[in-house]
Amino acid sequence: MASTESLLLNLALAVLFLPLAGFALLIFFGKKIPRQDLVETGILFTALAISIYIMVQKVFFVSAPTIDLTFKWLDLGAVAGQQGFSIDLGIAIDNIAAIMLVVVTLISSLVHTFSLAYMEGDVRYTRYYAYLGLFSFSMLGIVLSNNLLMIYVFWELVGISSYLLIGHWYEKKSASDASKKAFIVNRVGDVGFFIGIMIVFTSLHTFLLRDVFGGIAAQHLTGPLLTAAGILIFCGAVGKSAQFPLHVWLPDAMEGPTPVSALIHAATMVAAGVYLVARIFPMLTAEALTVIAYIGAITAFIAATIAVTQNDIKKVLAYSTISQLGYMIMALGVDAYSAGFFHLVTHAAFKAGLFLASGSVIYAMHHEQDMRNMGGLRKKMPITYWAFVIFSLSISGIPFTSGFLSKDSILAGALAYGLLTGNYLIPIIGYLVVFLTAAYMFRLIIMTFHGEPRDHHKYEHAKESPKVMTVPLIVLASLSIFVFYSFNPFNPEKGWFLQAVQQPASVVPAAQSYGFDQPVNDVQVTSPQQQPNAAELSVEAQKTETTRYEEAMEAVHYPGLALSLTLAVLGILAAFVVYDWKKIDAEKLKQRVKPVYTFLYNKWYFDELYDATAVAGTLLLSKSLAWFDGHVIDGVVNGAATLTRLWSTLSGKFDHYIVDGLVNFSAWFTGFLGKATRRVQTGKVQTYIVFALLGVIVIFYVFRQF
């Protein structure tokens, strides 16, 4: 291994374990260290610096697609004559991992900085930073893992950090409820993930992704089972990335501190689901991808519709996050791998920014989160306001922002997918969501920053946040500008980012794949499984002639771009018409579509549905089983005991009256005989002698032989 590569691996390990060291330090010696917050923040900035170095090195200078470090973690030996059981684990750095490293450490360090002010004076300030460290460690672990098992391990660990951070203010019932809900809902998805892993391992005897892909390419795992494995692993992503139908936990997770929401529930952890799908992308079959695309599209639509009606600033952002995550998932589902990942990165920046900005607002408004009590904050908080606007433009997909680049790629991909498969529902939903996104984002801005202040008391006390909070906003806002990703503001294709993030070729059998990456002229010839190395294959594919997919992309790129831009602008306009210029009375509009509004306002009644079915059902089942256990099973046991006792009573009676009766009778009878013959028993020795002698004489005469 080249020295650069081993250096990068060591550095990656350092990045991974630094936050863990910080966590341990704060948990065990938290009280003894001065300024614990700065320790952890410093650690994160160190990690950021190293990550940037790793990314630059990897993306621009290292030619190998993947740097890998694998070690044997567990070896159970082998049953004689059979394949042994061992588990290899390790880390790998490829381009997307390197980019994710930077994203995670960047957002994390900015959030750390932001929290210095936001969380100041909190009861469990040290604990808060410790958990942030634990989270960073786990998230980096997901990023660096080169195998499904470690991903699962860190997957659970981010889950637990998320649990701890959502429940940071656990004195509030709502907070502890929300943390519990988040963990359990995630667990549901994780079970699917777990089963998927089991399918993969049982068929291929390895967790290492490269060997998994190799095995699938060698047809060791095919057919419906492969599809099932893909969908089941995707279940993990459904949970973590809050996709329909497991999206219900994310809005509740807003009970946690706002910086946590920014870091975990907007930028990184929830994006881990998308990252996971990207990681396993080569093994997904066409059916699995279709499922993924639909789940993503449905999620994007549902969340966007709900976001339009919400009044809590963080809830709006939460649904917006779900919606955007749906976009990314949908992108992966429609085979727009690069676009999905691109959106993940850009979204991380602007959504973290949005949350931090909302945090800034909440901080200024003394923990007021209801937008109906805000308004007119533009003048009080100019930096926050402008950052907010930039983020909103970015999420709405307005040109010259990063969001425009990534979102446009996704929409183009969806459109191409529709073109190739005839399945237009997905692009239609995609475009609908563009409109909704722009509308609810600007509704948020207008309600918060424009117009007249509604709560004058809080308005009076509001002021711009301190520098530690605004500087992260400025950094994130600047990262929402196109130049960081591509110099061409309208087409990111040739930018470094999309050059670095190339779609890996599918390893599934040709019959089970979309077949988009096959040349236009010759659909059937190339079968990917003949070429084991997925990464090489992707490079190959790019170099050869135009594939069907590229052709479709070519066809839809500019029309799609125009359409999305139009819809976004319309959405912004709609928001202004209703909420700023008040051409249409929002209240009247609500009244007119009251059933729809109520339905949306209540989040499509998902929570109620789950409470009524899954939760209540489980509790009912558990109660009835406990009853069953206590009364039936234990009843049988106790009944057996009672029966035994009854039996023993009966047999006791039997014993007393029959058996003992016989004994007593025989005793009585003997006594009777005794009484009858006691006259013989005179107690006089002589009598006995007489009888003895008479006996002797009798015997003598009886037995004499003459």
Binding site: D75, K173, T202, S622, V637
Partner: protein, 534 residues
């Protein structure tokens, strides 16, 4: 022999050290309670040290199970030798001790839990002399079960541990202690009877050559029972896959299942746990339950491999029922101890599921789960004990907000709870992972349905966590103090083990792998009749 101290083998020492301690305790005057405690503690610490020495000297490459040369620290002498007994003929019982990769984790677990249990017994309120004497006797019985290789000896230890347990629950227990103790005793005794019957059946079926006299004789040697060629062709249990072998396997299974406990033989467990004092709950959940599954692996499986192969599906289904049923029942409980008791049932289901898979990873996962569950459940019961000592109630709904009042306690508890949930990085994750992986390979659908248990476990554990530790602190608990030094001494070693094994499971898996591979191989080869019969 190499591993001896004062001419007596290590295993004898580790088994009978507590008995020496018991003798000392009995000699101590009644008033000197401290001396008794320290004697008990010294005995268990010595035991732990000895266990560590055994651990260090253990050779992981040896296979054990059916191979007399695969056992280590073997001690074998004639114990009972009666040349002519009516019906039985020449009765010879060996004092046959030895460990392999299967018993090693159990020996470690017993030593560790016994040590922790003594510390948890520090505040026993009445007749300490009797308590510690019985406790040490119990310790000897438990250790003996895990090192005995002669079935008769095994049975003796098995019964030996029953009696002190009965008294420990029945005298030092809670309000319904008599009911619980009798239930425990009768239930276990029922199992013992079945084991005894099968043991006698096996005894009469097996013929070996007596090395001393060169004559054929019956034997209680487990290893001899595992070899199909030792069976008298006309005996009850001769052959492979014969009717009576299935019957015997089921009887033996029920005998051990009661101990595990496996649905529907589990109802003694919640009662016993609720009534038993903390330390006894710890021992009960930590060690005693493992004896059942240990019995499966040590006796049922290798002696009746054909029956195991036939019934493995049923075993897996029982494992599934245990997992889901236990978890659901736990969810409905409001008594903290009862909740953990049901969670034990659920977790022991994972063991059953793993070992029913009959492949390396499944069995290894099962055995590791036995160890891990022992440690984690011991922690959970200690935790309940801590809170019960202070608040004198175990109602989950009576608490709330303890996290602020008792931060260190909450921290330790969180580790234990998350270990029980199966959080990666903590020990139970590895064992559950391996068990499920093994089960998935053999019984795909059962493994999938069982994994519902993962969600349910998270559900009731977190719900409990929330009800007890989160939220507002009720006014009446303002006076509760955090864990004290003694409680930390009992909790921290367990916590270290939990985390250590969560990160480096190889520590525990490596010594057992050769043995378990041999076990799996043996079951498949002998169970399908691949080894020629006489």
């Amino acid at each position: 022999m190499q591993y001896q101290f004062l001419g007596i083998g290590y295993l004898t020492w580790i088994t009978f050290l507590p008995l020496i301690g018991m003798a000392v305790v009995l000699l101590i005057p009644k008033s000197n309670i401290n001396a008794m405690k320290w004697t008990a503690l010294a005995a268990t610490i010595l035991q732990l040290v000895l266990a560590a020495i055994i651990w260090v000297n253990f050779k992981p490459s040896l296979s054990g199970i059916n191979d007399p040369n695969g056992f280590q620290f073997v001690e074998k002498t004639r114990w009972i030798d009666l040349p002519g007994v009516a019906w039985f003929g020449h009765v010879a019982v060996d004092y046959f001790l030895g460990i392999d990769g299967l018993s090693l984790p159990m020996v470690m677990l017993t030593a560790l839990i016994s040590f922790v249990g003594v510390i948890a017994s520090w505040n026993i309120g009445k007749s300490q002399k009797g308590y510690f004497a019985l406790y040490l006797l119990l310790d000897t019985g438990m250790m003996g079960v895990f090192v005995a290789l002669d079935m008769f000896l095994f049975y003796v230890f098995w019964e030996l541990m029953l009696l002190p347990m009965y008294f420990l629950i029945g005298i030092w227990g809670g309000p319904r202690r008599e009911y619980a103790a009798i239930k425990f005793f009768l239930y276990t005794l029922l199992g013992s009877v079945l084991i005894l019957l099968v043991m006698l059946g096996l005894y009469f079926s097996v013929n070996v050559t007596d090395p001393a006299t060169g004559q054929a004789m019956h034997t209680f040697d487990m290893l001899a029972m595992m070899n199909p060629q030792n069976y008298d062709p006309h005996a009850l249990f001769a052959g492979i896959g014969t009717y009576w072998r299935y019957v015997a396997f089921i009887a033996l299974f029920i005998g051990f299942a009661i101990k595990v406990p496996i649905f529907p033989f589990h109802t003694w467990l919640p009662d016993a746990h609720v009534e038993a004092p903390t330390a006894i709950s710890v021992i009960l959940a930590g060690v005693l339950l493992k004896m059942g599954t240990y019995g499966f692996l040590r006796i049922s499986f290798p002696i009746f491999p054909d029956a195991v192969l036939k019934f493995s599906y049923a075993l897996a289904i029982l494992g599934f029922i245990n997992i889901v049923y236990g978890a659901l029942c736990a969810m409905a409980q409001t008594d903290f101890k009862k909740l953990i008791a049901y969670s034990s049932i659920s977790h022991m289901g994972v063991v059953l599921l793993g070992i029913a898979a009959l492949n390396t990873q499944g069995v290894a996962g099962g055995v590791l789960q036995m160890f891990n569950h022992g440690v984690v459940t011991a922690m959970l019961f200690l935790i309940v004990g801590v809170i019960y000592d202070r608040a004198h109630t175990r109602g989950v709904n009576d608490f709330g907000g303890l996290a602020n009042q008792m931060p260190v306690y909450t921290g330790i508890m969180t580790v234990a709870f998350f270990a029980a949930i199966g959080l990666p990085g903590l020990s139970e994750f590895i064992s559950e992972l391996l068990s499920y992986l093994g089960a998935f390979q053999t019984f795909r659908w059962i493994a999938i349905f069982s994994s519902i248990g993962i969600v349910l476990t998270a559900g009731y554990m977190l719900w409990t966590l929330q009800r007890v530790f989160l939220g507002q602190l009720p006014e009446k608990w303002k006076g509760l103090t955090d864990v004290n030094g003694r409680e930390l001494v009992s909790l921290v070693p367990l916590m270290v083990v939990v985390i250590l094994l969560g990160v480096f499971p190889s520590i525990m898996l490596h010594p057992m792998s050769a043995t378990l591979n041999n076990l799996v191989d043996f079951i498949h080869k002998v169970g399908t009749g691949m080894t020629a019969l006489k």
